[in-house]
């Protein structure tokens, strides 16, 4: 019983309305910060990075409706195409198995395609809505 009295007295003394105001301001600030970072994150676009031998050759913004073909002097047989649906793919290569061309279009963050014999690599980066909730770490 005596303990109970002590606790209520303690609470009364320790927290006053003004403190709630300070807390509210702090929580409000945190919320605003959270919302700002969250919205900027989801609105960012996907990019496709094209590497040759580990060297970055091109950063392609995967914008809706944008179609373009990429060719490179250092490996003329390689053609990479950016599609209007925000995907990108190897279109041609002179490698033996054409695994690069057969791997088809990629568009989700984390996906990648490569032409191993020609040392070409395309990697998708970014946190785009194009992942449509299928946000996976890796693909088997």
């Amino acid at each position: 019983m005596k303990d109970n009295v002590d606790v209520t007295r303690d609470r009364r003394v320790f927290i006053r309305p003004r403190d709630f105001f300070v807390l509210a301001v702090l929580i409000g600030l945190a919320l605003i910060l959270y919302i700002v970072t969250w919205t900027t994150r989801t609105s960012s676009e996907c990019v496709a990075k094209i590497y040759h031998n580990g060297q970055l050759l091109e950063v392609v913004k995967l914008e809706l409706g944008e179609e373009r073909e990429f060719r490179f002097d250092l490996e003329p047989s390689i053609a990479i195409r950016q599609f209007a649906d925000q995907s990108i793919a190897f279109m041609s290569s002179d490698c033996p198995d054409r695994v690069c061309v057969k791997s088809g279009r990629i568009k989700r963050p984390g996906e990648f395609a490569a032409c191993v014999p020609n040392r070409f690599l395309i990697v998708i980066e970014g946190t785009a809505e194009s992942s449509k909730g299928e946000d996976v770490d890796l693909v088997a």
């Binding site: 002590d6 606790v7 007295r9 303690d10 003394v13 320790f14 927290i15 006053r16 003004r18 403190d19 300070v22 807390l23 702090l26 945190a30 590497y51 031998n53 580990g54 995907s87 002179d94 033996p96 198995d97 054409r98 695994v99 057969k102 791997s103 088809g104 279009r105 990629i106 568009k107 989700r108 996906e111 990648f112 490569a114 191993v116 014999p117 040392r119 690599l121 990697v123 299928e134 946000d135 996976v136 770490d137 890796l138 693909v139 088997a140």
Partner: protein
Amino acid sequence: MSPKKSHTSERCGSPRVFTVLLVVLFVCGTVMLCVSGCQRESFEAFVTGPFDTVTKMILFSDDQSEFDEHRRFVEQELWRYHQLFDVYNDYPGVTNIKTINDRAGSAVACSEDLLDLIEFGIECEDKSDGRVNVALGSVLILWHEARTNSTAEPSQAYVPDQQVLEDAARHTSIEDVRIDREKGTVTLMDPLMRLDVGAIAKGYAVEKIACALVRRGIRAGALDAGGNIRVIGQNVVKNSPWRIGIRNPLEDSDGSFVEIVDVVNRSVVTSGNDQRYFVFEGRRYSHIIDPATNQPAEYHDAVSVIAEDSGVADFLSTTLMLMTEADGRKLLVNYPGCEALWVRGSTVTMTDGFKEYAAGH
């Protein structure tokens, strides 16, 4: 809260607000630390080349320099195993599968790593009832040549002659592969025999490297060697299991998934007909060859396996491609903890255990 403490706050009226502020800051700080500091940062890198594929590694590390050390280690190891298990190329100072093939008929001294892999291969032949056979090289090379030539010149595409295949198949008996552990040698008793470890080597190497990373102190990370995935721990940045998409092998699938699984400390491997193949007279010929017919396997479009060991997952996914689903399910009884998913056209089936990994998606 002790009465003594409350007495102190009562006396010092103005610092009280600051006390509250301090508590709030302390709590926020602790939370922030747990979100960013306690959890290590995620680093990614790609290695292009080993096992004729791209290997993606994701590791959680304190800083870039620590990650770079691990990255270099993984890269070196991948190349080392690639050279060791290579069927087609020589490397200076390296005794590999090609060396053993070139010297078929005589004993070849090899490294422990190579002996281990060949021993694993012999075990796989037994467990798969001869379906996955590392001694099938003489047949596989005929298909390899047909595939490479037909892809390069589609107008002159061809398939190997059945009689030639059957002649080659006479030199594929696993009993003719002799390992002498004491002397550290491998002998192919049949001089026309050729080893090909393509069906098991990648998964085996990935497992070895993953285990080495764990010994180096890595508690969370992932290796993905062209769809041969082995994860360590869980994804600590997301604080959740690793989420793996199982690729739809159909041509018009546009990169969609047939399933998504959540795994911790597991390997996920897919074998399929959709990437390494060639077309002859409108028919597709895949790279997975059935020793029973010496022709490409046609039971399934793709099979994915979840297992603890990446070597086992790689072996099982190839084996299951070479048998009916019913036979596959029987085989899996001998492999507790290993689960499989089969894709045939638009039909997807899986073991109950696989369903559990996929639950929630």
